[in-house]
Each structure stands twice: as C-alpha cells, then as structure tokens.
C-alpha cells in the first residue's frame, strides 16, 4: 500500500507540475467551453435565416413562449418547394432549410459555418424535444404542470452549452487519458525508470494500478471542473440521471488509456508517443461530434463516426446529462467502451517490447 501511494503521489506531482499537460487537460478544453458556451450563445448570436418549406405543424404547435424563442432565434421565410429552399441554403442566402416529414422535422444546412450550424441545430433540437415533452405532459393529463415544461423549452432553446459541454468533456478526457498513458509508458521506458522499478520489490500490478487510478482521478476532476464552470457561468442544467456520466467518464478513460498504450507500444520515444496519441484523438474528436454535431453529415461519415469510441462516449453523456434519458441509456455505451478498452489493451500488450530502447 505504501508503494502504491508513493507511486501515485509521484505521478500526481509529475502531472500537476507539467504546465503543458495541465494546459491540454484542463485549460484548453475550458477555453472551447467558454467560447462555445459563453461567447456564442449569450452574446447576441444573430438570428439564423431559416427557410420554411411548406407547413410546419410542429412549429405551429409550439407553446407561445417557445414560439417566442423560435422567432428570436430565426428569421423565417417561406417557400413552397424543397429545391428552391436547398438552393438558397447552398448559395448562402439562408442558413437552414426546414421541412416536416411526417413526424420528423428535417433541417438542411451546410457545414461552411460550423458554429452557426451547431447553434441552429442545437436550437432546433431543443425545440423538438421541448415540444415532445410538452405533448407528453398534455397526454398524461394534468400530472405535470405545463408551465414547467415551457420553461424548459425556453431554457434549452437558448443555450448551446447543453450540447457542447458533454462533447468537449469527452474530448478533454480522451486527450488527457491517451496522452497520459502514452507519455508514461514511453517516458518511463526511455529514462529507464521502468527498468529501475523492475528492480524494486514492487509488483507490476501496483505500478499499473497507481497510474490507472491517478488517470481516473484526473478525469473526475476534469468532469467536476467542466460541469462546475458550465453551471456556474453558462447556465448549464443537468438532467435527471447525469450521475451516470461518472461511470461513463471512468470507462471512457480506461478506453483512451488503452489507446495511449497502443500509441506508446507503436513508438520508440516519448515525443513520438504523445504525437501518435494526439494524432489518434484529435481527428477522432472531430469525427465524434465533440466540436459540432455530425447529424447533418453524409451517411458514410456517420458510419465512420460510429466506429469511434469517443462518439459513443459523447452520445452516452449527452443522453444522460442533457437529453433527460434514464440511467439505462448509458449501459450499451459502457459495454462498447469496455469492450474497446479490452481489445486495444490486449493488442498493445502483444505489441509492447521491453527492449526497444
């Protein structure tokens, strides 16, 4: 136990004294959060230009308060056929074309202005979900006070923060877990510390678990900071089973530590290992909707996205933290992440060579 805490303490000290890793684990993602959550949502985002194709029953059904929010968010124009609407979006005359297809609201927009797209999409999704909740409340009779749901609609429709926090948090955790594992593995191998530790009467298990426990702890602190900042400054409000984010964060961390180990096993220097880890995680963050949603992306891109563990982590966290889903929504995600972690760890163990230096 003394050995475990000594090694864990050494790793924690090494981490908090490393300005660069602290910056990339906490400050850098927080800057994104402030940017998306603060600058974009509150400081008078100009109304997006929306072309409405035909009748939109859903919009008509909005409660007066929600309707107000909708009108504030969009400058609405009406055209009668989809092609004209799409042409306007394509040429940049409009930001989004909206049509209703049965029970589904379909939004068409380009990805040229990603921020605008993200805002538009977040607002629309909030409206749809808000309406669903409102309708549900009506059907269930008077059990749920209507006013409460209306407030939610207004709240959600106005904050991008709800939708960017889980994704950015997923990215932050993935980056620091992967880089932490890669840098430790390669750094300790390079400096021969690994060999020196092999000569001390400490089990490998103790060393590995110290590293894992510290990384899990760092991920929880990142989560606390993110949610704290989001709630305190940007009006983030979490839904019912947000606490399921904790197991998601923990298993997600294991999953990305495994990727970091793979990066460490494939490279021969600490710098190369960190670069390799970054090279895996950063594109993955884009493909997993950490910075903007991929709902409007082409089919093939979404298929690739489904192969990314980060995509599942992000979706799982969105579900439980802001979409109001129950705890069970996180279970399949936990399974996917755990399986991914296991497979990648086994592959890394197979590829790892003590003697590569």
């Amino acid at each position: 136990m003394r050995a475990f805490s000594a090694i864990a303490a050494a790793i924690v000290r090494g981490f908090v004294r490393d300005r660069a890793s602290l910056f990339f684990a906490v400050v850098f993602p927080l800057m994104f959060l402030v940017f998306f959550g603060g600058v974009l949502s509150d400081r008078g985002q100009p109304a997006a230009e929306l072309v409405q194709v035909g009748d939109l029953a859903l919009v008509e059904a909005l409660s007066p308060e929600a309707r107000e929010a909708f009108d504030a968010a969009f400058d609405v124009r009406r055209v009668d056929d989809l092609d004209t609407a799409l042409e306007q979006v394509r040429s940049g005359d409009a930001d989004v074309a909206l049509r209703q297809d049965g029970g589904t609201l379909v939004a068409h927009y380009t990805q040229t202005d990603q921020v605008q797209a993200a805002v538009t999409q977040a607002t629309l999704r909030a409206l749809v979900e808000g309406t669903n909740v409102a309708l549900l409340a009506q059907e269930a009779g008077s059990a749920v006070p209507f006013a409460l749901d209306v407030e939610r609609v207004e709240d959600e429709s106005l904050t991008v923060i709800q939708f960017v926090t889980p994704g950015l948090l997923g990215w932050a955790i993935a980056t620091s877990a992967a880089i932490g594992a890669a840098a430790t593995l390669q750094g300790w191998r390079q400096t021969k510390l690994m060999r020196r530790l092999q000569l001390a009467p400490v089990r490998t298990r103790t060393i590995v678990s110290a590293r894992v426990v510290v990384t899990l702890g760092i991920a929880l602190v990142q989560t606390a900071i993110f949610l704290g900042v989001g709630m305190a400054f940007f009006g983030l409000s979490l839904t019912g089973s947000w606490w399921m984010a904790v197991p998601l964060v923990l298993v997600g961390t294991l999953c990305f530590m495994a990727l970091g180990l793979l990066a460490g096993a494939l490279t021969t220097t600490a710098e190369a290992a960190v670069n390799a880890a970054n090279f895996m995680v950063l594109p993955m963050a884009f493909l997993s909707g950490s910075f903007f949603s991929l709902d409007g992306a082409p089919r093939w891109l979404q298929t690739i996205s489904d192969l990314m563990p980060l995509k599942h982590l992000n979706e799982g966290m969105l579900d439980v933290m802001v979409r109001g889903e129950g705890p069970a929504a996180a279970l399949p995600v936990l399974g996917i992440l755990a399986a991914f972690a296991l497979v990648v760890t086994l592959v890394s163990a197979k590829l790892f060579r003590w003697d590569s230096v």
Binding site: A6, A10, R13, G14, T191, K192, L193, L199, A200
Partner: protein, 299 residues
C-alpha cells in the same frame, strides 16, 4: 558464501555477443570492479546479473537465488544504480529518494539521511531536472543504497563527479564495504579500481580477460618502471651509462629512464647526486588495462 556466481554466461544482441562465456565469482563482503573499454559488455553483464535481462545461456546465482525470471526474494537485498539515471519526472531530490524509500518500506527520515550522506541536503528541494550531472549521479546512488542492501551494483558511479565528490563517494563506498556489504562496480578510472577494489575483472568484447587483485595484475604484467630525473641533473650520456637502464628519453621536463631494476637505478642516481625531484612510476593498473585491451578505439 558467494554473493554472485556466474557460469558460462552469454548474452547476444543480434550479431553482437555483448557477454560471451563469462565466469565470475564474487565473495560475500568483497569489493569487485569490472573494467573494460566502451562496449566491452560491462553494463550488459551487470544487467543480466541483476536480473534485468534474460541470459541467452549460462547460469547466474545472486545471494543463493536465481535472478531470472524476476525473483522478488532477491530484489529487496540488492541495490542498483543504472548507468543512466532513472528518475520520476519533476520530483524534487527529496521526493525522489522518499519515493524510492517507500518502495522498499524505508522511513522518510532515513531517506533524508541518505541525501545528507551524498552531500545533497542543500539540493533537497531542487527538481531532479535542475540537478547538475554529478548531483543527479549522487542522487541515483543514494536511491540505490537507501534500503541498505547486502549487495550493491554501481554502473560507473563516479563517471560525472568532480574530484571532491569522487573522493567522498570512495569513502562512502569503502564505508559500506567495511560494514560487510558486497559491492560490484564498473569504472573507467584505474586509480579508483586500485584504491577501492579487492579484485578487478578486465573485460573486452564480452569476455573476461583477467581477474585478480590490482597488485597481482600489475605484478603479472612485468612492466618496466619509469624514472623521471629533473632537468639539468643528468645528461643523456650519463643516463645511458647507468646499468640496468633500458631506454632514455630527454624532454623539456627532464630525462625519463625506463628500467626493470628501479632500486639499483635510483641508488646509482643517488651516487651521481641527481636525486633532487626524482619521480618513480612503477607499472599501474592502467598499463595492465592497455596491455590487455590494446589502444585502438572501440565501437
């Protein structure tokens, strides 16, 4: 009892036979030096004996135990300083040695004592990255000794030390050796081996060429002594006239006579009144080393 028993040990890296059929015994309480040019296989030999690397053939017994695969019974009883300092990043010297102490279940107070003993008390709060090469080396040695091991391996412990630190370390190592600990070190300094070691093993190309006490090896070499006579004391012809002189060399610092009978030659110099400032150099371990391993550079 023998602390280390190595038989017919071989370790191959690709084409290189880094250790090639080595036999070596180290008795309990002995102080043994391993000498050899760069790439001779000293580090590899030590690493295999410590149990860090798997031997390709042959046997190693340390303190009566097998060392490969990793044997937890041996580890607490040996202390190792690796050739490259191995530290936890961004810890201070004190945190560093306390961390190692904790791994061996040694109290922080004793860890701090060791900082003092290697003269790093003043640097206790400096990060390991900010230590000078010699200070880092001393910290690494302290980390190897913190749990008071029975058997100590030191790979070029004095490599980057200044003369003061080197002497202090000699004292420290002699001290722990006198307290009954067995010490095995590698070095490139012959004076160091002569002062410290009960026995030395000279290695080259993976083989142990000779083992013995420094005095034994020098005697065995039968090298001529060099006698330096101060300038102006003796002319060249006079020098050549002295019986038993093998060669004479006149330089700005004086005249150098080589001889296998230094006592006779010095007596004759006395009769000639040329003894002022005379210096006699007999064969050294360095001569032994060069005679055994040659003078060309090693890869």
């Amino acid at each position: 009892m023998t602390a280390i028993r190595v038989r017919d040990l071989t370790k191959v890296y690709g084409e290189v036979r880094a250790v090639d059929g080595v036999d070596l015994d180290v008795a309990d309480g002995e102080f043994v030096g391993v000498l050899g040019p760069n790439g001779a296989g000293k580090t590899t030999l030590l690493e295999v004996v410590e149990g860090l690397r798997r031997p390709d053939s042959g046997t190693v017994e340390v303190l009566g135990e097998q060392v490969w695969p990793r044997n937890a019974a041996v580890l607490p009883r040996i202390g190792v300083q690796l050739q490259a300092s191995a530290f936890f990043e961004r810890l201070t010297a004190r945190e560093q040695i306390r961390t190692f102490a904790a791994l061996y279940d040694v109290s922080p107070a004793r860890a701090d004592d060791w900082l003092e003993r290697v003269g790093l008390a003043e640097k206790a709060s400096a990060r390991v990255e900010d230590l000078s090469g010699g200070q880092a080396q001393r910290l690494s040695i302290a980390c190897a000794l913190v749990h008071d091991p029975e058997l100590v391996f030191l790979d070029e412990p004095t490599a980057s030390l200044d003369p003061q630190a080197r002497r202090n370390l000699w004292d420290l190592l002699s001290g722990i050796n006198e307290a009954g600990r067995t010490v095995v070190l590698t070095t490139h300094y012959m004076d160091e081996a002569e002062v410290l070691c009960d026995r030395v093993a000279v290695m080259d190309s993976g083989r142990v060429l000779q083992v013995g006490s420094p005095a034994e090896l020098v005697r065995h070499l039968d090298a001529p002594a060099r006698i330096l006579v101060a300038p102006g004391q003796l002319d060249e012809a006079g020098a050549r006239g002295i019986a038993g002189t093998e060669s004479v060399e006149v330089g700005p610092d004086g005249t150098v006579l080589t001889t296998r009978h230094p006592a006779d030659v010095v007596a004759r110099l006395g009769e000639l009144g040329a003894l002022d400032g005379v210096r006699v150099q007999t064969g050294t371990l360095e001569d032994v080393f060069l005679a055994l391993t040659g003078r060309s550079y090693r890869a």
